[in-house]
């Protein structure tokens, strides 16, 4: 027997309805807090990845700027001469290789 035996069925049902509602609300609030914590962690992770990518982009931009500057310093004629010389060197080297055999 319990100390609540003098409760009427109607009183018990009413009490359980309000207790269940309170427990349910607390459980839902806990779930929302858990979801919030998960989202906060996700946002922090995305921020860290964004910071890393931003830093990498900055590094690449420095390199690109340097390459652009170098490219613009070389005249088109000098550039063509460099390419022709390179091709000729390769051809000579290939022919010499065949002769040695």
């Amino acid at each position: 027997m319990t100390e609540l035996d003098d409760d009427s069925p109607r009183q018990r049902l009413a009490r359980w309805t309000s207790t269940d509602a309170a427990i349910g609300s607390a459980a839902e609030a806990e779930q929302l807090r858990a979801q919030l914590a998960e989202r906060v962690a996700e946002v922090a992770d995305l921020r860290a990845r964004l910071a890393h990518l931003t830093s990498r982009v900055a590094q690449l931009e420095v390199v690109n700027t340097e390459l652009r500057r170098t490219t613009s310093r070389v005249s088109p004629l000098a550039l063509a001469r460099r390419i022709v010389n390179k091709v000729c060197r390769r051809t000579r080297s290939a022919v010499a290789g065949r002769l040695r055999r």
């Binding site: 027997m1 319990t2 609540l4 035996d5 069925p9 109607r10 018990r12 049902l13 009490r15 359980w16 309805t17 309000s18 207790t19 269940d20 509602a21 309170a22 427990i23 349910g24 459980a27 839902e28 806990e30 779930q31 858990a34």
Partner: protein, 257 residues
């Protein structure tokens, strides 16, 4: 110690082992024959229950009380109504399509319901002797451990043969102290057909009580193995809204039972 058995029923019948029976009458009869403790049986009778079934139940003995339930079916509301009329210090929630197998089942369940325990579940067998219930598992879905295995399966390292803490137990046969039921506000009427026992067990666990499976308490549960649960989207939504993070971290289910 007094146990109040709460048996929701509308007086349906069926053929078991070739013989037609009214489930609730035979279930209550087997409970009274084997209880071995002070017991009252509260049959919460839906409006569909035939008058002759009510008469049959009353004829089983003075321990049987009938409480009428006139609203649309809501398992949680039915259980709460029965519990509201209970005088025992333990509640035994029992489906009407059950039959006791082991004579000391209730004593074993009471023994398992020690300090800190909020609910005890039994081993339930289908009519063909296969396992219907050996505790809940919430690991990948809300279901039953070892569902459909042979009834005498030991499981990995004999886990199915041991009294052990589980994620939850079915309300088809559940012993719970009245004080615990009262403290957590009974069953949630927002879950009329499914997951009300999952929700109840979650309320217990979050409040610090455990759920225990007692394999020495064996009953038949004549529920069809192919029963379609008819789960409503709002039931899934509510159970997840309340307990999702707890459910997905089921630390009670072994990896392979």
């Amino acid at each position: 110690m007094t146990v109040s058995a709460i048996v929701p029923s509308i007086g349906t019948g069926g053929v078991i082992r070739g013989t037609h029976r009214t489930f609730v009458t035979e279930s209550v009869r087997s409970v009274l024959a084997t209880a071995n403790v002070d017991i009252e049986v509260i049959v919460v009778a839906g409006r569909e229950m035939p008058a002759e079934t009510v008469d049959e139940l009353r004829a089983l003995g003075p321990e049987v009380r009938i409480v009428e339930y006139r609203d649309a079916f809501n398992f949680s509301a039915v259980v709460n109504l029965g519990a509201a009329h209970a005088t025992g210090d333990h509640l035994l929630l029992l489906n009407d399509d059950t039959e006791v197998v082991t004579d000391d089942w209730l004593v074993r369940m009471i023994d398992a319901c020690g300090p800190g325990v909020g609910a005890v579940g039994a081993k339930l067998l289908f009519e063909d002797g296969t396992l219907q219930h050996a505790g809940h598992t919430y690991r990948t879905a809300l279901g039953h451990v070892a569902f459909g295995l042979p009834g005498d399966s030991a499981g990995r390292n004999g886990v199915l043969l041991r009294r052990r803490e589980v994620a939850g137990v079915t309300a088809a046969c559940m012993l719970t102290p009245y004080s615990v039921f009262d403290a957590v506000g009974g069953f949630t009427v927002g879950l009329p057909g499914n997951y009300n026992d999952v929700d109840y067990c979650m309320k217990l666990r979050v409040a610090g009580w455990s759920c225990v499976y007692e394999p020495a308490a064996v009953l038949y549960h004549f529920e069809s193995k192919s029963r379609v649960a008819g789960i409503k989207p709002e039931e899934i939504e509510l159970i997840q809204r309340r307990w999702l993070t707890h459910l997905v971290h089921d630390r009670y289910t072994p990896g392979n039972v």
